[in-house]
Symmetry: C2
């Protein structure tokens, strides 16, 4: 399908055709009008996939865990979409390849669609790229979307912003992450997994996490389990904890409000990122604005006056209030 | 000085008067026109302070380390400005207070000015708040600015964006941070400190860091030292490593380019944050735009069309390219 019509694209994706799905994602990523026409058309049908986000520090084995989970869910004949979100440099991608490669086992399975997301070429940044891919995979009939963050910071936010259930993956030695939970800097997830639990004693970190969770006043206590992703140990339990959380969201009527809030945040994140891209491009394109920036760098114009001037010129925002 | 004139404010801050300095920061934080007039006036004089940024996971003892460093630098009769950047919730601030309190020892020292930064009330977010405080403390004659990030993510970016020298503070057990360095997700700092080096064996993490650093092709190998901030051990060496880096920047002619790049990034960060704030406020204020958001949440309008409509209405951006 080198030049598909909108109808061919819709038919192909709706029937779960892999080539059509890959094509739809590429069209959207390349800002092709056909891609956007496609998204407009299918958006009302989306929301049928259940999205599970995996966050956690690098090196804890998230990709291996995901791969083991894919195997389990495929045995149960569920259709899967997998999205890896990685905002980092080409250097990083190389460094992490050894980890990511586990997912390659599933590349030939027609019931699994795997996509890696970078930041390149998207006016709306990572938020836009991730949302678009998720919507296409949702429309393609994925029962479950697995979203994995490879980096930290921004990518973690994007994954959480789309996930119905958030799984935090740690390992014995993830002292920083436990401290971040304790300090309230890291949001409490729905499920906590201590992976590589056989490689090092996990008792210390488990106690530490339990103590930390007991401190907060939580609406629902997160499940805490151990896994050994390489051997598949604990993966059954992981999935059953995710399903428990899903059932809880349903019983409590919390799934819809969570998704509505996520959609609003996505819109603001994408619009904000597009505005910022527009702003930087305007300064590149406009010699007058480049002079404003130069003046700041020479310390002849203060940065806040420069911001005001740029915003007025580019957006006609009157930032007197700032 | 309840209603100072601009001249009184300038005279007060330039002579290092604490009340005038506190007043100037408050005026700027409250978006008072006098505050901005003050910044416009003093900006050409700034850049005389040397800024050292401290990043690292929570719980490694950054505040204790900072406090010990303040003691050392005060013995050398340097004037200091200290800024703690914490973007987190009130809940977090409570949780971290035990740590932050170490700095209280220095609250009465007239040669040290300490300020905590949150996100509240700034159109331009944390970037703006931090830059403003740094400029005021620079104008007030600080020889050294010590910038500490309390949270992670955004606050780390702001601290790095102002720092001439970046110090990463870890402890034995900071496995996640070393993995992030290894994966290239965390930028390589100028100095790495392993604090609490006597509480747990530090050999493992030191080896791990050395191996990681050896992998990269670095322009300059970061110094790697151990400290025990509570007893003051290693603080002398920490300062001498910071001075070594400063001397290297000078010899290589890298200080000015670094600062110019930082200033440009600050301008974009502040302008971007202001644009985003403006956007969200516009949606709150405009019933028509709120309906657009509602339509997305009901899945009757796709998010990218909503983004386009919002950007056109608020900024008159034609985002056909997106």
């Amino acid at each position: 399908m080198s030049n598909p019509t909108l109808q061919e694209l819709l038919d192909g994706v709706r029937s779960g055709n892999r080539r059509a799905t890959a094509r739809a994602i590429s069209l959207v990523e390349n800002a092709d009008p056909l891609g956007y026409a496609f998204l407009r058309e299918v958006f009302p049908e989306t929301g049928r996939s259940y999205a599970v986000g995996f966050t956690g520090p690098p090196g804890v084995g998230k990709s291996t865990l995901l791969s083991a989970l894919v195997t389990l869910l495929r045995e149960r004949e569920l259709r899967l979409g997998v999205i890896s979100v990685d905002p980092s440099s080409p250097f990083t991608q190389g460094a992490l390849l050894g980890d990511r490669i586990r997912l390659v086992d599933h590349f030939l399975d027609p019931g699994v669609f795997i996509r890696s997301m970078g930041t390149r070429g998207h006016l709306g940044g990572l938020a836009q790229a991730t949302l678009e891919a998720a919507l296409v995979l949702d429309a393609a009939g994925s029962d479950i979307l697995l979203l994995e963050t490879v980096g930290t910071g921004q990518s973690e936010v994007e994954v959480r912003g789309l996930a119905d259930t958030v799984v935090l993956v740690l390992m014995p030695g993830s002292g920083d992450a436990v401290q971040a939970l304790k300090a309230g800097i890291m949001e409490i997830p729905d499920v906590i997994v201590v992976n590589k639990a056989d490689q090092a004693p996990a008792a210390a970190i488990l106690t530490d996490i339990r103590t930390t969770l007991a401190l907060g006043e939580l609406e629902r206590m997160p499940a805490l389990i151990t896994t050994e992703a390489l051997t598949g140990e604990g993966i059954d339990e992981l999935w059953s904890e995710i399903e428990d959380h899903r059932a809880w969201l349903g019983t409590e009527g919390k799934l819809e409000p969570r998704r509505r809030e996520h959609l609003a945040r996505e819109v603001f994140a994408i619009a904000g990122a597009q505005a910022r891209t527009h702003l930087e491009q305007a300064v590149v394109d406009d010699p007058e604005l480049r002079r404003v920036l130069d003046a700041v760098q020479d310390r002849s114009l203060d940065p806040l006056s420069a911001v005001r001037e740029i915003l007025e010129t580019v957006f006609r925002i009157d930032s007197d209030r700032c």
